[in-house]
């Protein structure tokens, strides 16, 4: 009985502080209470640039003349549509607004 208890005591002492040491060495985040923590989000690498470069860069946006001409074309087309009665509806008279009233 004594030797058994001694062995158990030694093994307990040997493994004392192992969890904290492991966390410190390998960079783990201890959460003994199981609460929600933002560690998972903070651990992620910054990937904003990676997402932003999904679409390639359009060099037309760098030229103000090209952009102005496109804007002019858009406005003239809109004017023609309005003249023919095909322009965008006023607020509150569209399909979704009408559906909401029902």
């Amino acid at each position: 009985m004594a030797s058994g208890s001694l062995k158990n005591m030694l093994s307990v002492a040997m493994n004392q502080g192992v969890v904290e040491a492991r966390a410190r060495i390998f960079g783990h985040q201890l959460n003994p209470t199981g609460m929600k923590t933002p560690h998972k989000l903070l651990r992620m690498k910054l990937f904003g640039e990676k997402v932003a470069q999904w679409y390639p860069h359009d060099i037309k946006k760098d030229d103000p003349l090209v952009m102005a001409r496109q804007e002019q074309e858009r406005l003239s087309k809109l004017e023609m549509l309005k003249r023919r009665g095909k322009g965008p509806p006023k607020k509150g008279q569209g399909r979704r607004a009408a559906k909401r009233n029902k």
Partner: protein, 390 residues
Amino acid sequence: MRRTLVRNGSLYTRNLLHHSALALAASSRPQFRLFSSNENPPPVPQIDDVNNKELKAQIETYFKGDEKVLPSIMEAILKRKLSGNHEDTDDELMEELRMRPLDDVDDRDFESDFESIHDTDEEIDDLYNARDVVMKRMVKDEYFNMDDKKWDDIVEDGIKHGLLRDTKECEEILEDMLSWDKLLPDDIKQKVEVKFNELGDMCERGELEPEEAYEQFKKFEDEIVAKYLDKMEKEEASQFDDTVVPDKKKDLDDPPGEGPILRWQTRVVFAPGGDAWHPKNRKVKLSVTVKELGLSKYQFRRLRELVGKRYHPGRDELTITSERFEHREENRKDCLRTLLSLIEEAGKANKLVDDARSSYVKERLHTNPAFMERLHAKSMRLRESNQVPA
């Protein structure tokens, strides 16, 4: 004078009969002029001069086969050149000889030395078939067209079949041959140099002949070599008697065990472009054999608790992986830092176990009443002894 003129004239007419009529007309005038000029000088140089008859006789004997006459012929020609009296006749003679080919010359006598000294390659009949020729030669001669790879194969075969047993000894001998200047100790070199200088000075002063000096130097060198050999034998005998075992550990610069202790695994992706960075290149894997770390029983168990699944008990191998940083070298540093931290943390087990064991013993003693009584009495006695001098 008239008699000599008549004789010379008869000789020239005989020679001229051999040539054509044109030659007769061309060469007759200068000869007569020479005759007229001969009247002026005294008769003394004529005695040293060689006659046409004598020269012709010598040349004929040479052509017949007697080669010993050649030097005398050369001397005669030189004498006639120096006297200057027979320039036209000698020119005609040269023209005659030039027309005649020499059949008695032996080529082998000239070429025997050349062939023995210089070995030329055998001629290849068909140059368009060089590949087959080379293949045949390689089949015949094992060492034809020697290559590094072939040489390595030969050496390997020699080692396998036992022909080259002691390679280290061969290397030592080759090193000695390469640096033969360093074989002898410096004091012996100085002695030899001093002796050489002394003998040289004596030769320059004239006290000794070069041959005698050389013999003396040779004797001195032999004596020095004999002394050195005796010295070496004595040293070897003393070593053998003392049974001194050389410390081999100092010589070895390899760590104990087989192979490196830290084994690194990395990946290198070769991509086009100047930038060598690639996301696959980041990861670094470090493997260590735990036996090499020299841990005790308790330390080992603590290490296993720390690393968990990273330890492979079958191979006794601990593997640490890191891809935390962007560059591989940073990840290698991280792996090494992790390994050192693990070793340090595992090393704490001994202290913890000792503390636990001592605390256990203390508890057991506390629960023992007899021990406590004796301890109490002893402490009381100590207090009384302390109070007496006060």
